[in-house]
């Protein structure tokens, strides 16, 4: 037989051996907790014991106004939080990267470091520092605005329902603008000189060179940044918690999915934590993020053209 005569390939053990550490670690710290969360969301604590209730927790989450109002409010706020990042953080990041990659810019390394530094600061420091800066009592913001005659425009932003979330989004933008800047900067540097020279030979220089040559070449990087922003924003929690507390005031106007999950899971003050409802919310967050990433992978990324040099 032909099949028999073919030399039998030995089982390639080394593949399994080399994959094992990563698979084991990833399973232990990612897949098992995720499965645990999904499982927890299907149970409910009745009379001191965990009872399987199917999707009842999700029905409560969406059907009971005591939960659903909070959930939709958090989702709406989270979406706004994301929109601000997409509209402000990423364009500014691209712009800063374009400026930094300009060969005529002096002190580029200094600017790059200075803009990136807030990213490595702790949320607690950022939250506390901005609370102080914006404080109507001892903050520098009212004084600085007074200095340029704009005192009338100052309001206690973090305490006003209509401004607090936007203010916090902008603080987060300030903190994280370094990340899109660095990624785009790296992408811009990897564009080969020949392409730029060819463009210059064709008379495309300056701003139109950026729009017509560089921007299409860095689009895949912008896509990656968008998806990182999306995942980061829908998992956000720390900044809101440090600046506004777990109740995400005023009047829940800065409540995002992370803080909503925190209150449900761990409880707050007299509110006793409910790990099962918390797990249900965590599952919804997982599904939202999974959905967003899938949309990106299957609809957006497949249409992005990649250029090989």
């Amino acid at each position: 037989m032909a099949a028999d005569s073919r030399p039998k390939r030995p089982f390639r053990w080394h593949i399994g051996v080399f994959l094992a550490p990563a698979v084991l670690v990833y399973t232990a710290i990612m897949i098992l907790p995720l499965a645990g969360t999904l499982q927890l969301s299907m149970f409910r604590n009745i009379e001191q014991s965990q009872v399987f209730v199917g999707l009842a927790n999700f029905r409560t989450l969406f059907g009971d106004p005591n939960w659903s109002v909070g959930f939709w409010n958090a989702l709406r706020n989270n979406t706004w939080f994301f929109i601000i990042h997409m509209l402000v953080q990423n364009p500014i990041g691209v712009m800063l990267a374009a400026l930094l990659s300009s060969p005529r810019l002096r002190f580029a390394a200094f600017y790059r470091t200075a803009i990136f530094v807030p990213t490595i600061l702790s949320f607690v420091i950022v939250g506390f520092a901005w609370k102080l800066i914006l404080s109507p009592l001892w903050g520098v913001a009212p004084h600085l605005m007074d200095f340029v005659g704009l005192k009338s425009l100052f309001t206690p932003w973090l305490g006003k329902e209509q401004y607090a979330l936007t203010a916090l989004s902008l603080i987060s933008v300030w903190q994280f603008v370094g990340i899109p800047m660095m990624l785009i900067y790296a992408a811009l540097l990897s564009i080969p000189e020949e392409v730029i020279e060819a463009a210059e030979c064709d008379g495309i220089t300056g701003l139109s060179q950026f729009w017509k040559i560089k921007l299409p070449l860095i689009l895949p990087s912008i896509g990656i940044i968008s998806i990182l922003t999306f995942v980061g924003n829908f998992n956000a929690f720390d900044l809101i918690y440090t600046a506004q507390g777990a109740l995400a005031g005023p009047n829940y106007s800065t409540d995002i999915l992370g803080t909503f999950l925190y209150r449900a899971f761990f409880g707050f003050q007299l509110q006793v934590g409910d790990p099962n409802m918390g797990a249900a919310i965590a599952t919804m967050m997982f599904l939202i993020i999974l959905g967003g990433v899938c949309v990106y992978l299957f609809l957006v990324q497949t249409r992005l053209r990649r250029y090989q040099f």
Binding site: N66, L137, G249, N251, F268, Q271, D274
Partner: protein, 419 residues
């Protein structure tokens, strides 16, 4: 050779055995607590005082971090390694431990008769039949004022609401001081120092609170909306940008002498005494007409219970009876001004501000915060919602009626009072 070894071993065990016997006469009790701040007070004052009177019982105070206390205690109780004495959080957290059988019933403990029913309410079953922790301390709400400011503007200490608002108007018209130091950013200030502070005068303390739990009154009744109406009137007297003013901001505004009146809890006394450079006084929440009965929020905060699995239950009970005695109360209240003993026996305190606060117990009726017992067990959580709505009312986002309606609707959705 073997005999030698055997003798040595036997000798060794006999010595060890007798050492063990000598040791067994001394019982060591461990106290679980989240009050790490009080470590020196326990070590230097309270425990020596107890050990001097009760030879043979040694006490060790072993606190854990406040944020970890509940979880750590739960794990230790489950594993059977928890201390003999357990510091009790008020209301549901301790009640849950009692229901699980972790805390022993102390209703018959000698010394429990030293406490009033209000004092014991935080550590009782809902029907009030079993008590499981000895009340240790409470905090009282009221207003602390800057005496120098009041003297300078020749303002009399207000006793009625009209006098209170007249005083605020006068301070505001003068302009040197911010009339009242309070912010709404942290939410709980508005609820705890605002609503729960002035409220008992409207809902008549325990009467109203009990009626609310029984379902005879609703949060939308006049007595429960009226405190919100008064809170809404506070807005013009608060500092610029009070919407973003945090709790430490309010404390600093007052202790720096920039504000005249501070809606307070008595726990501030210790800090204010060290920071403020001016004379301070205090007055209870003003009543409607002179001569009306006044009510104060005298909120139970810390208690101590007995681990049901303790091996030294008798020694622990001796200790708890001592905690229930006036001796303990005197040392504790003086070491921590602002945390008042709940003991019915009067306690002599050296701090004048603390004395002023505690003197209200004589002329006013005590109650606890309305949202703490039973009513904050469900979703939405009444206490959290009260924080949010109190801040909303002061910010002007919600009218008093709308706020009360939201709270009652939320409460109705899960709380069915026993008829």
């Amino acid at each position: 050779m073997t005999t030698k070894l055997l003798t040595a071993l036997l000798l060794g065990t006999s010595i060890l055995g007798s050492a063990g016997l000598a040791h067994a006469e001394d019982v060591t009790l461990n106290i679980e607590s989240w009050r790490g701040d009080d470590l020196s007070i326990w070590k230097d004052k309270l425990i020596p005082a107890f050990e001097a009177k009760n030879p043979g019982i040694k006490v060790v105070f072993a606190p854990s971090a406040p944020t970890e206390y509940d979880a750590a205690l739960g794990a230790k109780l489950a594993a059977g390694s928890a201390g003999d004495l357990i510091t009790c959080r008020p209301f549901d957290k301790s009640l849950e431990l009692f229901k699980k059988g972790n805390l022993a019933d102390l209703s018959a403990l000698p010394g429990m008769e030293n406490f009033s029913p209000v004092a014991k309410s935080a550590w009782q079953t809902d029907d009030g039949k079993a008590s499981f922790c000895v009340p240790m301390a409470s905090v009282i709400h009221g207003f602390i004022y800057n005496k120098d400011a009041f003297d300078k503007l020749s303002i009399k200490v207000p006793t009625t609401r009209d006098e209170f608002f007249a005083a605020l108007d006068k301070i505001k018209a003068d302009g040197t001081y911010i009339p009242m130091a309070m912010g709404t950013k942290d939410l709980w200030e508005a609820a705890t120092m605002g609503y729960q502070n002035i409220g008992p005068n409207y809902w008549k303390g325990e009467d109203g609170r009990a009626a609310l739990i029984k379902g005879e009154q609703k949060l939308t009744d006049k007595d429960w909306v009226a405190p919100y109406e008064e809170l809404a009137k506070w807005k013009p007297y608060l500092g610029d940008g009070f919407e973003a003013q945090t709790y430490p901001d309010s404390q600093n505004l007052f202790t720096l002498g920039r504000a005249a009146i501070y809606p307070a809890g008595s726990w501030e006394i210790g800090l204010f005494n060290t920071q403020a450079q001016f004379k301070m006084g205090a007055f209870p929440p003003p009543v409607e007409k002179a001569g009306d009965t006044c009510y104060i929020s005298d909120h139970t905060d810390i208690g101590m219970g007995l681990n049901a699995a303790s091996k030294h239950a008798d020694a622990a009970k001796t200790f708890l009876s001592w905690v229930a005695s006036p001796d303990f109360a005197t040392i504790y209240a003086n070491a921590l001004p602002g945390f008042f003993s709940l003991n019915s026996a009067p306690v002599k305190m050296a701090d004048p501000l603390a004395q002023e606060f505690v003197s209200w117990r004589g002329k006013c009726k005590s109650t606890i915060r309305s949202t703490y017992q039973i009513l904050s067990r469900g979703t939405p959580n009444l206490e959290n919602e009260t924080w949010v709505e109190s801040a909303n009312v002061i910010n002007g986002t919600d009218t008093p009626e709308a706020a009360a309606k939201k709270l009652q609707t939320g409460l109705d959705s899960w709380y069915k009072p026993a008829k």
